[in-house]
C-alpha cells in the first residue's frame, strides 16, 4: 500500500522531466511547469498527510503505532479485527448508515414536491420561501440545544435512531430543497409541458419525467445530505449515548485518556471515513451548489 503510493507520487513528480519534443525557447516554461508540479504535489500531500498517516497507522500494531514515526513496518489487520471484537464497531456503523440514509430519504421525499412547485409553478412568494428556508439553516444548533434535549427527553426520543433521523432530516431539508430547486430549474420547461399535453397527471409528470431526467442532480443532492448527516457531530454527541450512537460518537469515545489505542482508533476511523471520502470525491462539483446555496456556480 505504502510503496504503491510512493511509486505513483514519484512517477507523477518526474513526469515533466520526460523529454517532450519542444523547442528550446520553451525551456523557461518547462522549468515553471516543473516548479508548479512540485509545489502542487507537495502542498496536496502535506494537506492529505494526516489522513494518509491515519490509514497507515491502522495497519500497525499498537506498539508500532506509538513508536517513532516510520514508513517501514510489517502490516497487520489485527486492529481491524479488534475494533469489532471489543467495541462492536458494526453496531455504530449500522446506526450511522440507518440515520444518514434514513434522513436523506425522508428529506428527499419531503423536498421533491416542494422543489417541484417552486421550479415549475412559481408564485410571487417562491423567492421569499426559498430565502426563509435558507435562513432556518442559520439558527445555530447550540442555540436550540436545550429545548430539543428537553423535548426529546420528555417524548423518549433521546438516544434513539428515530430522534437523530428527525433532527438530520430537518437539518438538511433547506439544503436539499435548495439544491433540487436549482437542478429542476435547469430542466427545459417544454419537456414537462409536453407531458402535460399528453394528459399526464402531476404525479405521473414527476415520477416518469422529472425524476428520471434529473436523476444525476437528485443523486448528488442525496449524497451531500448523506455526507452532512454522516459527519454531523453536534447533535450526535449530545442526543445519543449508547443505543443510537453513530460513528462520530463512537470515535469520540477514543478521546478518554485510557483509550490511547492509536492503531485501533486509526482502523476504526479509516472505516468510518472511507465511504464518505469516496462520496465526496464523486460529487465535489455539484456539492458547491448545495453548500453555497447557488451563490457560487
Amino acid at each position: 500500500m505504502t510503496t504503491a503510493k510512493t511509486k505513483t507520487l514519484a512517477a507523477d513528480g518526474q513526469a515533466p522531466a520526460v523529454p517532450i519534443p519542444r523547442t528550446s525557447t520553451l525551456s523557461s516554461a518547462r522549468t515553471r511547469r516543473l516548479g508548479l508540479t512540485v509545489l502542487g504535489w507537495a502542498i496536496a500531500c502535506l494537506i492529505f498527510f494526516p489522513i494518509f498517516w491515519m490509514v497507515l497507522t491502522g495497519f500497525k500494531t499498537e506498539s508500532a503505532a506509538i513508536a517513532d514515526p516510520s514508513l517501514i513496518f510489517s502490516p497487520t489487520l489485527e486492529s481491524y479485527a479488534e475494533v469489532q471484537l471489543r467495541a462492536d464497531y458494526f453496531k455504530f456503523a449500522l446506526n450511522s448508515v440507518v440515520v444518514a440514509f434514513g434522513s436523506t430519504l425522508a428529506a428527499l421525499l419531503i423536498a421533491i414536491p416542494s422543489a417541484y412547485s417552486m421550479a415549475f409553478l412559481p408564485t410571487k412568494r417562491t423567492k421569499g420561501t426559498l430565502l426563509w428556508m435558507l435562513s432556518t439553516k442559520m439558527l445555530p444548533p447550540v442555540g436550540v440545544l436545550v429545548p430539543i434535549y428537553l423535548l426529546f427527553r420528555d417524548v423518549g426520543l433521546l438516544d434513539t435512531r428515530t430522534g437523530l433521523t428527525i433532527v438530520y432530516t430537518l437539518m438538511n431539508l433547506p439544503i436539499v430543497v435548495w439544491m433540487l430547486y436549482t437542478f429542476f430549474k435547469d430542466l427545459p420547461k417544454d419537456i414537462l409541458e409536453a407531458g402535460r399535453m399528453d394528459g399526464a397527471s402531476t404525479l405521473q409528470e414527476v415520477v416518469f419525467l422529472l425524476l428520471p431526467l434529473t436523476l444525476p442532480g437528485i443523486a448528488s443532492t442525496g449524497l451531500l445530505s448523506v455526507i452532512l448527516s454522516w459527519n454531523e457531530a453536534f447533535w450526535s454527541l449530545n442526543l445519543t449515548s449508547s443505543n443510537a450512537a453513530p460513528l462520530t460518537a463512537y470515535i469520540a469515545s477514543f478521546s478518554s485518556p485510557e483509550g490511547l489505542f492509536w492503531a485501533k482508533l486509526s482502523a476504526a476511523s479509516t472505516m468510518a471515513i472511507a465511504p464518505i471520502l469516496v462520496f465526496g470525491w464523486l460529487t465535489q462539483k455539484q456539492m458547491v451548489r448545495g453548500l453555497t446555496f447557488g451563490a457560487v456556480k
Binding site: G40, I110, T123, M133, V142, G143, I148, L237, A295
Partner: protein, 300 residues
C-alpha cells in the same frame, strides 16, 4: 384536443395557488415548527429560573439569567475565544484557499489527483480529524510534529497544554481550508482566459494579474466562503469536545462549549438558554448579510 388543452391550462391556473400550497406544505410546516418551537422555548427558558438540579427553584426570572451571564467572566472568556477562533481560522482558510485555488488552477501533471487529495479533509468527520491531530500529529512525545521538530534539533511542543487554542485553530483550519479551496476553485474556473491573456500581452506580471483580475473576480465567492464559514465556526463543538474539553481552565471554551457545560453538565437550563439566545443573535448578524447576498443572486 384544443378544448382539453384550454381546460387543463385554465385548471392549472386557478388551482395553481392551491396546488403550490399543498406541495410545499410538508416542507414549510416542518421547517417552521423546527425553527419556531425551539426558538420560542429557548427565549422562554432564558427568562426563567430553571435548574434541573434544583427543581424547587422555579419562576419568572426576568433578565436575571442575562445579568448573571454578562457578569460571569466565563462568558467573556468564551466570547473572546470564539472571536479568536473564528478570526484566525477565517484568515488562514480564506488567504490559503485563494492562493491554493490559483495554484490548482494552473495546469500540471496529476492536477486532478492533487486537487482531490487537497480537498479530502473536508469530508473527514470532525471527531476523527480532531483525534488524529491530537494523538498522531500533536502528541508531545510520539506525535509526528514532535518527531519532525526533534529531527531538526528543535524542542518538541506540548501543543495542547502550552498552545491549546492554537492547536484547535490548526485542526479547524485543516478541516475548512479544503472547503474554501473547493468553493474558490469552482469560482476561479469561470475566469475569462482571454482577459488574463490580454492583460499578459499588456505586460502585466502574475502578481498584477492576481490582484487586478483574479481577486476581483473571486470577490463574491470569497464573501460567500467567509459568511458560510462564520456560521459554522461560531459554534465549533466536536473538535473541542474530544480534545481539550474547553481547558485548560477556560482556554479553549467557546460559546458553544460554554452552553453545553451549563446545559448538560450543570443542568442550568435558564442560563444555558440565555447563552443560546446570545449565540442566535451573533449568528443572525452574519446570516442577514448572507441571505441578502443570496437574494441578490437569485434575482439575476
Amino acid at each position: 384536443m384544443g378544448q382539453i388543452m384550454t381546460k387543463t391550462r385554465a385548471a392549472g391556473r386557478t388551482v395553481g395557488g392551491l396546488r403550490t400550497l399543498s406541495l410545499q406544505a410538508p416542507a414549510v410546516t416542518l421547517l417552521f415548527l423546527w425553527m419556531i418551537v425551539p426558538l420560542a422555548m429557548t427565549v422562554w427558558f432564558s427568562l426563567q429560573r430553571y435548574n434541573l438540579l434544583m427543581p424547587e427553584m422555579t419562576g419568572f426570572a426576568g433578565l436575571e439569567n442575562y445579568r448573571y451571564l454578562f457578569t460571569d467572566p466565563a462568558l467573556w472568556a468564551a466570547m473572546g475565544n470564539t472571536l479568536l477562533l473564528v478570526g484566525a481560522v477565517l484568515a488562514i482558510t480564506v488567504v490559503g484557499g485563494t492562493l491554493l485555488a490559483v495554484l490548482f488552477q494552473q495546469e500540471f501533471p496529476g492536477r486532478g489527483v492533487a486537487r482531490v487529495l487537497a480537498i479530502s479533509p473536508f469530508f473527514v468527520m470532525p471527531t476523527v480529524s480532531a483525534l488524529v491531530w491530537k494523538n498522531m500529529m500533536m502528541h508531545p512525545s510520539n506525535g509526528v510534529l514532535s518527531w519532525v521538530a526533534e529531527s531538526f534539533g528543535l524542542p518538541a511542543v506540548d501543543w495542547f497544554s502550552s498552545l491549546p487554542l492554537t492547536s484547535i485553530i490548526i485542526i479547524v483550519s485543516w478541516q475548512w481550508l479544503p472547503f474554501a479551496l473547493l468553493i474558490l476553485l469552482t469560482a476561479i474556473q469561470s475566469l475569462d482566459d482571454d482577459q488574463v491573456e490580454a492583460a499578459r500581452m499588456d505586460g502585466a506580471g502574475p502578481v498584477a494579474i492576481f490582484f487586478f483580475i483574479t481577486l476581483p473576480h473571486l470577490k463574491r465567492a470569497i464573501s460567500v466562503v467567509i459568511m458560510i464559514e462564520m456560521i459554522f465556526l461560531l459554534t465549533i463543538f466536536a473538535e473541542i469536545f474530544v480534545t481539550t474539553s474547553g481547558g485548560p481552565g477556560l482556554a479553549t471554551t467557546n460559546l458553544a462549549f460554554l452552553i453545553y457545560i451549563q446545559a448538560l453538565l450543570d443542568f442550568d437550563v435558564g442560563m444555558a438558554s440565555a447563552g443560546g439566545v446570545i449565540a442566535i443573535i451573533l449568528a443572525n448578524i452574519v446570516a442577514i448579510f448572507l441571505v441578502r447576498m443570496v437574494a441578490k443572486n437569485l434575482e439575476s
